[in-house]
Amino acid sequence: MNHGSQSPGSSKLLPKSLTGISGLDDITAGGLPTGRPTLLCGAAGCGKTLFGMTFLVDGAVRRDEPGVFVSFEETAPDLAVNVASLGYEVDKLIDEKKLVIDHVRVDRSEIEEAGEYDLEGLFVRLGYAIDSIGAKRIVLDTLETLFAGLDNVAVLRSELRRLFEWIKQKGITAIVTAERGEGQLTRHGLEEYVSDCVILLENRVEDQITTRRLRVVKYRGSAHGTNEYPFLIDDHGITVLPITSAGLSYDVSEEPVPTGVEDLDAMLSIGGYYRGSSVLISGSAGTGKTIFSAHFANAACARGEHCLYVALEESPSQIVRNVRSVGLDLQHHIDADLLRFEAARPSFYGFEMHLTRLHRIVETFKPTIVVIDPISAFRGPAEEVHSTLLRVVDMLKARGITAVFTSLTPADERLMSDADRGVSSLMDTWISLLDIESSGERNRGLYVLKSRGMSNSNQIREYRLTSNGVQLSDMYMGPDGMLTGSARIAQEWRARTLETQRQREIACRRRKLERKRLVLEGQIAELQATLAMQEAEIDDLSEAERLDAELVNHDRQVMARSRGVDE
């Protein structure tokens, strides 16, 4: 996300100091102007003090730039306690001479103005604090308290002008906080003096949900993001969510990511979703959207990929239990830290907070797969929902993360809201799960409504949620259209019966033929036997004839000899 800070031109023109506030450095393309004051304005409770302290702690800990925190409101111990919740060890930094906290107390009831004065006392203290540790950063929080303590506004104004000049001359990077004013940025018009960089923090409550937003109003000599950016303060510090200006310039991948359901892979020509694409699984209640998502997550984790599952309606343990009934064991992926659940009711935070949290988890956990189940849980003005989702899609695409979004649609597709339609155009692949009602039954069917960049099956497939996961069955077309459920089973049975009958007939014919063959072979053998017999007879006859002839001849000789006839 450091696309901004790498732009060589801006950093050469204007030196910048990183704030360590993730996101803000992106928006400002490298941080606050070095050696100049930045005005940070916002109403009470916006996080001005925490911003300031984060800036100083970051400088002290990471950049070898010690800092001075001049607090006009909180005492040093209070301040230390308040920022300890963000994990800042203020006391340690003070001991290491990396941080000085000077609490400037201005108590009007003690003060009597008796003659001409200036604010040299304040200057002396600042100078002293800065010199004592060689500070490079300073935070003045909130300078405007002076207006409440001192009467002579003319002196005050000229002294403030001098103060900012003095800070610039010393080359100290400063954050000056100020209260938001009516009709102007700050209550006392400090923006008149600090003109290099002005950042506005806001706390907006809409529908009882608070969203913190940040806007860079002005940054002299530097390009900066001009939108309102949501930000978050929690135990991880401050996170600003930059809305990527990357637009539509993502790298696209040709690689398929299996859907986790083999039969579904087969319906998509590349054998899965494209890596880095956005997939919408929509369906009415109970069609198994979560189960399809869980299949996808399970397959990813089984390949050793990191998967983030954002559960917006069910608790993670409930999901884990429920999908166990279809034979998916997600728990061992959780234990291996391949699968992480992020569960939150959408109404608990605003959209911006969700985005910001999502952004931070994506940055730290680095998943390749993200499931958001379901996006229909986001309720609000269609426009806002749409822009939120657009940014989610953008953010995930920019990182090449394959995202599956589920959406609950009304049973009747015609009742689909405009928001849903709007969302669908952001999706690359849309799998629609249907309730099919026929012959007094409700069955489930799915089809690939669209899938950009690949050919896909146009079939509506019936599927069942079995203990071995999702099973797709073949569809039968009957005279009245598609057959599902028992009608399909009946059709299957009929088909099976027909098949067996045919098999039986073939077998029967084969048996008959065999018998015929045996009979014929028998006849052949008989005929051959007869032939052999006749041949033998003939042989016998000719032998007998020969013997007879020999006998006659012999008899004749014997007779002649006995008659004494001479030859």
Binding site: V106, I111, A114, Y117
Partner: protein, 118 residues
């Protein structure tokens, strides 16, 4: 405010704190005109109104910045009345007499007509 006399204003004031001990600190910035004026004025006030019932310390915050921090000094010059309580910070070159006296909890010597004497 204190009439038409040519005497300096501090001589017109009279204290009702005859037994009170004053602890005062004046924080100045080197020898700038305002600082010098403030030093002069407070010295006279002390001599003429407090008759030795005071400790006055003049501190140059250029020389001792830590003192400015410890005493919560913002403006210069600043006169801090530590005793008697309550603590007061009288800021400025002390040229406004009423304000100085009010800050020190002293009353002017010549009160407006009809005013009561303490």
């Amino acid at each position: 405010m204190t009439g038409n006399s040519q005497t300096p204003w501090w001589e017109e004031a009279d204290g009702d704190h005859s037994g009170t001990h004053f602890v005062l600190r004046l924080y100045v910035t080197g020898s700038t005109p305002r600082s010098t004026r403030a030093v002069e004025i407070i010295r006279r006030v002390c001599e003429e109104r407090l008759n030795g019932r005071y400790d006055l310390e003049v501190i140059d915050i250029y020389q001792n910045p830590q003192a400015a921090r410890d005493a919560q000094i913002i403006a210069a010059p600043t006169l801090v009345k530590i005793l008697p309580e309550p603590l007061r910070r009288i800021i400025g070159d002390l040229s406004n007499s009423d304000r100085v006296l009010a800050g020190l909890n002293l009353v002017p010597a010549t009160s407006p007509p009809g005013g009561t004497q303490g």
